[in-house]
């Protein structure tokens, strides 16, 4: 039994950390906020050079063939500097989605695009009603002959301003509705991962969800920026208006999108959680440092128990979150039977702990912590912006409970 990262994992952390620091650390996010995404692009390129986007791509497709647990240090480091962009969605969602459910052709094309940094993905999931429940999806895909017609409006797309392509779940009125019986089984050749054993009868609103991928510059795609208090997220509203796609843009089985999503979204939440603990650790390190040096009443404020014990409280939560997040990533990577409960309980716990840490960080910095110049607020805003990313804390808690059989 050994509950620490391996030497290789720690080495990857160090090279990522060094790379991010070379690019300016938090300045990458600040430049991005100021409307200058070049620094982010350069950083992304460097991370690609380090192999970050290849880590969890199967060896058969030119990747390193590692898993979530190996990505933990990467996301801890990107979280620490609040890296904007779509690394998370690309590596922790698109890669497993394509690797597990894509056709052989898609794996060749898309995974190598991810590996070489040419392709990055954002998740265009949330409908304008705010729901991220796939059951509430209103956007549609219809087949007409060989052509798939996509109509959807998706909002609060994280990284939507930056991705080169979108992953879009839509309601697919399948074969029966247009008399076309070709419905997709044919082209998604590589069915070894289709995992029909997962099955469970799909019911009611959950029927007929299909995942498409769409290039950003495809005809009929409009991307509009959304204003957010976390301007590092590149939030966008993406409209797909009479977009015509070929079969190659369907990922996995036509109509089988729900199970695919439930599977891969756990990889994503495990990654989000890892980012959170990285960010939280930064916040606590910096407030600890501040408490040692800031003097009031002739004392470093860290000598006052109101300050020191509050830092300890948050630190204990960080320790707890870190344990849960490491385990969750291990559980996902090893397919442990408790992985669903592990992921969602880590996600809900880390979410709330991050908010508290970021909020207390401002408080303990006093007035200065409330200024735009200090970084404190960026962490709180990120904490709040990630809070409801693809689920609320209550959703995560209910998913945990349900996974535990309650």
């Amino acid at each position: 039994m050994d509950f620490s990262l391996s030497k290789e994992q720690e080495m990857l952390r160090q090279s990522v950390q060094k790379c991010l620091q070379n690019q300016g650390g938090i300045e990458i996010a600040r430049s991005y906020m100021d409307g200058e995404p070049q620094r982010l692009k350069k950083t992304y390129g460097e991370l690609v050079q380090l192999g970050v986007t290849s880590v969890n791509i199967p060896e058969a497709y030119g990747g390193v063939g590692l898993s979530n647990i190996d990505l933990v240090p990467v996301f801890e480091e990107t979280g620490r500097v609040l890296l904007p962009g779509t690394l998370r969605e690309t590596v922790a969602f698109a890669t497993p989605l394509i690797a597990r459910y894509g056709s052989a052709e898609q794996k060749e094309e898309l995974l190598s695009g991810i590996a070489n940094g040419q392709m990055t993905f954002a998740l265009a999931v949330v409908e304008t009603n705010g729901s991220y429940q796939l059951g509430d999806i209103e956007g549609t895909a219809r087949r007409q002959g060989d052509v798939i017609h996509l109509d959807a409006v998706k909002t609060v797309v994280h990284g939507g301003m930056d991705a080169t392509a979108f992953l879009v779940p839509v309601r697919s009125d399948d074969a029966s509705s247009d008399g076309d019986s070709l419905n997709g089984d044919s082209s998604n050749g590589d069915s070894s991962n289709d995992d029909s054993s997962k099955g469970g009868s799909s019911n009611g609103d959950h029927e007929g969800i299909t995942w498409l991928w769409v290039e950003r510059d495809h005809d009929g795609v409009t991307v509009e920026p959304l204003q957010s208090f976390d301007a590092t997220l590149g939030l966008a509203k993406v409209t797909f208006s009479s977009v015509q796609l070929d079969e190659q843009h369907v990922i996995g089985k036509w109509g089988n999108g729900l199970e695919m999503c439930e599977d891969c979204v756990q990889d994503l939440h495990a990654a989000v959680s890892a980012e959170m603990i990285g960010a939280m650790e930064h916040v606590l390190d910096s407030v600890t440092e501040y408490a040692k040096t800031r003097v009031q009443f002739g004392q470093p404020i860290g000598r006052f128990q109101a300050v020191k014990h509050r830092i300890v409280d948050r630190r204990l939560e960080l320790e707890t979150a870190k344990s849960l997040v490491y385990y969750a990533n291990w559980a996902v990577a090893s397919g442990s039977s408790d992985k669903t409960a592990a992921v969602y309980s880590a996600r809900s716990y880390a979410t709330e702990a991050f908010i508290r840490a970021a909020s207390d960080n401002i408080q303990l910095h006093g007035g200065i912590g409330f200024t735009w110049e200090m970084d404190c607020h960026l962490y709180l805003k990120r904490a709040r912006a990630l809070e409801n990313y693809l689920g609320s804390v209550q959703d995560f808690e209910e998913q945990t409970a349900s996974a535990l059989g309650w």
Binding site: G130, V156, Q227, I355, G367, K381, S392
Partner: protein, 396 residues
């Protein structure tokens, strides 16, 4: 125990309501947003204060002879409640009206009264208050800004921070060190400084909420004269305390805002849904809302209990620290939750906000309310030491 208003109080309330109904700035009721940029915003607020002044609603607690209404404490509270209720624009000279004017009336020289008091109420001269410094936040007595006497002038050098309205203020009530030899609390003097002089430079502070409500002020050989001193040289701390005692209604605005925010939160929880269920029917949300109901009602009722205390003793006590703690901590919690409940849309801001950007703005501002005016940590010390008689904290 009686929660009803007297007929005089009710009359006061109705008169104010009627006046507000007639006089809120055109278009205000719809958007309730200030002009985005200076100087439009400043002009808008100056106009509003002038209108209040003309209507006799600028300084309700001021003595009648100085243009006020001589309102009772409770009327003053009713005034705050109504202003919050209709979401009236802020009063730009609130520092002058709330504290500096009353202080000058109480302990200013005749010349100071003649020179300043009237223009405070009318809004002709806007005031700010120079207390905090970079090295003197919670530890206010540690200020370093100093004034040195040269002939009939005092030469002032130093830096202030967290000064509201300084960028538009005409004058500043400034606390400066005039003697470094004694204990920290000694050797301070209170000055009334002209802000339109070469030695004074203000720089706005960009807050995390993207607002600019505070400023830094840099004094470089700024000048004050003998007649600008309030009280005696070396008695600045005492003057500052006198000034604070004029803050009779304390956190009234905050406590009424909390009630309004709570009601609005319940309001949108009745329409927004999560997984097809109205938020207000979601048991987990409902539990949280009931908690806010109890705590916001509790903060309001506690405020009233303390007010009863103030009315009986004739002066506000340290209970104000309790009110501030209850309100500011609850506000941060509740507004955070109000943002959170907006789900996927919660990070959206400004024009793209889902329910209303004031929730996001309010939440971000709430992070400052547990800091400004005495941090939560300091307030707890005050309550511990001055209400409960627990031992003094470590110092020096």
């Amino acid at each position: 125990m009686d929660f009803s208003l007297t007929s005089a109080e009710r009359e006061f309330q109705h008169a104010l309501r009627d006046w507000l109904e007639q006089n809120l700035p055109a278009g205000w009721k719809g958007s309730r947003s200030l002009p985005k940029t200076d100087p439009e915003r400043t002009q808008f607020l100056r106009d509003w204060q002038r209108r209040l002044y003309d209507g006799g609603w600028a300084g309700v607690a001021w003595p009648k002879e100085y243009g006020g209404r001589g309102a009772t404490l409770l009327e003053e509270v009713i005034y705050q409640e109504e202003m919050v209720r209709v979401k009236a624009p802020p009063v730009i000279n609130i520092i002058g009206i709330g504290m500096i004017g009353p202080t000058l009336i109480q302990i200013g020289t005749e010349a100071q009264k003649r020179r300043y008091v009237h223009k405070i109420l009318s809004g002709e001269e806007i005031w700010c208050q120079g207390y905090s410094e970079p090295g003197a936040g919670s530890d206010l007595a540690a200020i370093q800004t100093h004034a040195v006497k040269q002939g009939d002038k005092w030469i002032i050098n130093g830096q202030k921070v967290w000064t509201s309205y300084a960028h538009i203020a005409d004058r500043c009530f400034l606390l400066a060190r005039t003697d470094r030899s004694g204990a920290k609390h000694d050797g301070m003097t209170a000055f009334l400084i002209d802000m339109h002089q070469p030695g004074v430079e203000t720089r706005p502070i960009h807050q995390m909420s993207d607002h600019y409500d505070f400023n830094e002020i840099f004094f470089t050989d700024a000048v004050a004269y003998e007649e600008d001193i309030v009280g005696e040289v070396g008695e600045g701390w005492k003057v500052a305390v006198t000034l604070l005692m004029h803050e009779r209604v304390g956190v009234a605005r905050q406590v009424f805002s909390l009630q309004r925010d709570f009601n609005d939160l319940v309001g949108f929880s009745k329409t927004l849904t999560r997984q097809g269920v109205r938020l207000v029917e979601n048991p987990v949300v409902k539990k949280r809302l009931v908690d806010y109901y109890a705590r916001s009602r509790g903060a309001l009722l506690t405020y009233y209990r303390h007010l009863t205390q103030t009315m009986k003793t004739g002066h506000p006590g340290v209970e104000g620290s309790m009110d501030k703690l209850l309100c500011s901590e609850l506000g941060k919690d509740m507004l955070g939750y109000a943002v959170s409940l907006q789900g996927a849309h919660s990070p959206l801001w400004h024009e793209d906000a889902y329910v209303n950007s004031s929730w996001q703005d309010g939440y971000l501002e709430s992070l400052g309310l547990t800091i400004a005016g005495g941090t939560t940590e300091i307030q707890k010390n005050v309550v511990a030491e001055r209400v409960l008689g627990l031992p003094k904290d470590i110092k020096h």
